[in-house]
Subunit: 318 residues, 2 copies
Amino acid sequence: MSLLLIVNGTGENWGPEPWLRRFRERLPGRHIEIASDQGPAKHGFRYAAVWKPAPGYLARCNGLEVIFNLGAGVDALLKDATLPDLPLVRVVSEDLTKRMTEYVVMHCLMHHRRQRMLDEAQSRAEWAAKDQWAASAVRVGILGLGELGQDAAEVLVRIGFDVAGWSRTRKSVAGVTSFAGEAELAPFLARTDILVALVPLTSDTEGILNRKLFAGLARDGRLGAPVLINAGRGGLQDEADILACLDDGTLGAATLDVFHEEPLPPSSPFWRHPKVTVTPHNAADSDAEAISDYIVAQIRDLESGQPLRNVVDRKRGY
Amino acid sequence: MSLLLIVNGTGENWGPEPWLRRFRERLPGRHIEIASDQGPAKHGFRYAAVWKPAPGYLARCNGLEVIFNLGAGVDALLKDATLPDLPLVRVVSEDLTKRMTEYVVMHCLMHHRRQRMLDEAQSRAEWAAKDQWAASAVRVGILGLGELGQDAAEVLVRIGFDVAGWSRTRKSVAGVTSFAGEAELAPFLARTDILVALVPLTSDTEGILNRKLFAGLARDGRLGAPVLINAGRGGLQDEADILACLDDGTLGAATLDVFHEEPLPPSSPFWRHPKVTVTPHNAADSDAEAISDYIVAQIRDLESGQPLRNVVDRKRGY
């Protein structure tokens, strides 16, 4: 019942050593080891907990039965064509979900309450006009109504926004209009003033945030022009299209937490664009302690005969 | 059953004429008139709906039975020592409550998620470090746990903040620690990282947001230093103390929606203070249609024999 750690992270939270400490604390008496994916393969470990392992490495380790990803998104892992055909578990934790909800709620409110206009007015010592509508006048559309999207939707509904969600299969969330499947994407976009992207990155969703999609968003909303919040993955977005659509008014503003290249290089025009808020992929910065708890709970459940939860469907991509 | 309007507001929402139109639409067949508080007194009207009437005017109008204030705060009205001893009704509307909750939730999140630090980092094209705690690590304290405070508290709890409230009498809100009375103010402050002021302005609360109070806030919180959000009334705050406390670190930041002088004059140091967010008294900009509905509903209820709701207790001051 041994555990192999392959962690390409750094710092006191995401380096391999802190992960080793956390798992040793939680699984005393087990054999737990750090592997370098630049070194020789390690054999005879039942579990692997991984963060950005080098492609090909896991395939060389004999004896593995389950792979735990140390994050929610498995898009990078699934790009490894040699990834062994074992159960692959992603993180679905209340901690991660709640952090994403904080981010989505705050940025929806900042657009709805025109915080950037107010910031501008403050910089000119100008008492802005009060013309402010209620949240019920703003239609939020959540692209991706999974665990994260559903939780954010619940709070947005409680606050008073007019909320819909789109997902592959229809979901039921109180107060949220659920659109499902490709046929319902257009009507979903047509009633959306603030688009929140939370879909997983798969071959189906790569580059989905492009001009064609933005052009389908509502043009008759209270915000003047539709707004994009991408808290999913950089690979979802066509960055040249976002810039062009901001400049020609197809989009009114964008809040971006993720990018094709991270950290976002200083030369990126996003940094200085007056309609863009950049955040450093911290929408749902995972708590390593909470993730460790989650994985250890899954290991214990499995060993007491219960099925693994949140196993990735490789065909679906998440 | 006639209605007199005394409205010192302007514009398409707050001018006297739009109020006349709204009440005539809702109370067809009634005698409704606009009075100028600079002109002669009007007699024989049963109801008055007022917004900032000149002190002394209402006392000169014979026959009034109920005064409806067109807003939630009655502090200005109660300063009129000649105000007739009639039931005075304040606005408690879902619309106003929800708008205040939007404001409080957004600004608590902006402090918790360090949005101003991230704005700064963006202005330098700098990918900030991700070190972000969960909302559960931040203690919000709501000074004033009435209708507004309770609704905001509920959403803050749902998001995950550690929420307490202080009020004159003890309140029961799920998940919220309730402190009550003067004796419990100190322990309430001592566990507060973000102080949200929503108390009504009365002789008891005038100037309560001063150095002595700020010095009692928690010094061991995740935000580094405690934060003030004043969405109540300017009269609650000692503005010189706020500036001095921001400068010496007693306060880490302040978000102010209200001021002694409104509009805030261009010369105010608040505009350009790097730790201050100024908003133009728009936290809960009331919806005139919703207020009209509310007052008409009260009139109809009263005339069908039901008691008035939200009548001001003059001794208490709200």
